[in-house]
């Protein structure tokens, strides 16, 4: 059964059509990569799914329209990691991660600011998974870019939502932590969760994702397994690059090597 169904999605922002007629689905336990050049509408699509933008079309979660759920129900169904890193105050890493338990808080007069033991366990395990437990007392503003990215990912995991939307979670990370984050998202899927992840690194996309959705200029270009989507023709058509492609241990890799004249139809 599919976890998320998107059908005929249109997003218009400030008179500009940013996403046009997009349809795809994410199954339970599926890691779906969203790829495409800058300005393709990937972030816009993710924001629309997170109900942060107005849209036309259908977005269904487990068969129910996502915009019909209450804000609280929705907060427990999907967790969103934004592309920007806008944490404003120098709060501690543990407090930052703890904010992910907000959808489970009681009313303000009960347990305001306090966490139950279930919360504390969830917080600790998410922080250990993302390797930020030893940073728990540090201020978010003092962290390196990579440490902060992992702390924010822990904040998303701690929601324990069936659907995770991650907008470029590995952009600021070194190779080791890039692999670690992708492995984490991969293992998050094993418990039946679905993950939609925006990626620019095509090798990571090819190696870790079950399926890819490729977008360009707001439209769906290709969808399918990584080998079906990351073809020389599609790469030239969307990114305008020629890539070195090969296989290692039965998994494909894609290394963009040279620019090509984009073949626009």
């Amino acid at each position: 059964m599919s976890l998320l169904d998107i059908a005929g999605l249109d997003v218009v922002l400030g008179g500009k059509s940013l996403v046009r007629g997009l349809s795809f689905e994410i199954g339970e336990g599926e890691l779906l990569g969203l790829v495409g050049p800058n300005g393709a509408g990937k972030s816009t699509l993710v924001k629309a799914v997170a109900q942060l933008l107005e849209y036309r079309g259908e977005i269904r979660f487990q068969g129910r329209p996502l915009n019909a759920l209450s804000a609280r129900e929705r907060a427990r169904c999907l967790a969103y990691l934004s592309q920007e890193d806008p944490v404003q105050w120098p709060i501690s890493v543990r407090d930052l991660v703890g904010l992910g338990r907000h959808p489970y808080r009681g009313s303000w007069w009960r347990g305001a600011g306090r966490s139950g033991t279930g919360d504390l366990e969830a917080i600790e395990s998410a922080m250990r998974l993302t390797d930020v437990w030893r940073l728990r007392e540090r201020r978010v503003t003092e962290l390196s870019g990579g440490e902060r990215a992992r702390a924010r990912l822990a904040r998303v995991l701690v929601v324990e939502a069936p659907l995770i939307l991650a907008d470029e979670p590995v952009a600021a990370l070194d190779p080791r932590h890039q692999l670690q984050v992708m492995q984490l998202l991969r293992s998050a899927c094993q418990s039946g969760r679905g993950v939609l992840v925006v990626l620019h690194d095509l090798t990571l996309a090819s190696r870790f994702c079950d399926r890819l959705v490729m977008m360009d200029r707001g439209e769906l270009i290709a969808t399918g397994t990584p080998t079906e989507v990351l073809t020389a023709e599609n790469l030239a058509r969307t990114y305008g690059v020629r890539a070195v492609m090969g296989e290692h241990d039965g998994q494909g890799y894609v290394v963009p090597w040279d620019t090509s004249e984009p073949l626009r139809s």
């Binding site: 806008p86 904010l99 303000w108 600011g113």
Partner: protein, 332 residues
Amino acid sequence: MFQIRPRSLTLVLVLTLLGLSLASLCFGEAPLSLGEVVGGLLGTGTEEQRLIVQQIRLPRVLLAWLVGCSLGASGAALQGLLRNPLAEPGLLGISASAGLGAVVALYFGLTALSLWALPVAAMSFALLATAVLYALTRAGSTNLTLILAGIALSSLATALTSLALNLAPNPGGVQDIVLWLLGSIADRSFDDVWLCLPFVIVGLALLLLTGPSLDVLALGEGEARTLGVDLGRLRGLIILGSALSVGATVAVSGAIGFVGLVVPHLLRRFVDYRPGRLLLPSALGGAVLILAADIAVRLLDTPKELMLGVVTALIGAPFFMALVLRSRRDML
């Protein structure tokens, strides 16, 4: 820097507030001992002591609480909402707009029609100013544009207030208005306390409700919304809460600046920088600061008693300058 745990911070502030309140009842032109103050409060002392304590000094103490709590809590809430440590009701022109509302009510003689005309006019103008600021920050503005907008709003309100004074037919009334605009809680009665009390209580309650949502807003608007924070409701609560509490207190005390800026800044480290947990301590801290400044005003040996708003501005403006310089250095 000495360390206070977040939980004991509230207790420390409450005790300081009570201590200063007693001190404030003691000091003045006719100094009273603690025993005489207690006697005056309970009505067991002499008639004169009872009059001084109950009619003159107690309203002053209570107004210090109300004004301080309003400014402190509004400052903390606005900083959390706008995600900006420089937000403050005075700096953003909310206080000046409330002052304009009050002057309009005085100028057009609305105060003769109803006792409530003054606070209602002040609150309406404060509400309008906050809504304008909010609309500006919606359009993705930076710290700089927000502060510039606040300055513009503040200048406009001050200019319109001056215009009203300029055209005022009665010179005697003008001096009253000018003095009142400088900000003071001296020579106020229980009538003033009752006039603003209900609005301050409602306003503070609305502000304190926003704590958990403000904490989550530290993540940014998008992620906060996906965690179930209703941004529209949050903004509404804070705009209404600050307008009610600041508007009502400006109506009786005039504009007292910088308290809403300084207090959250001083207390933030003790609540682990969590914007939501900062609300209650900032309210209490605001009251402590106003009370302390009001005692200082009386103890200073000046030919004429200084106005409270003048003193807070004299301390607050250099502080603000330092804060701006530091935030500029952090950005570089």
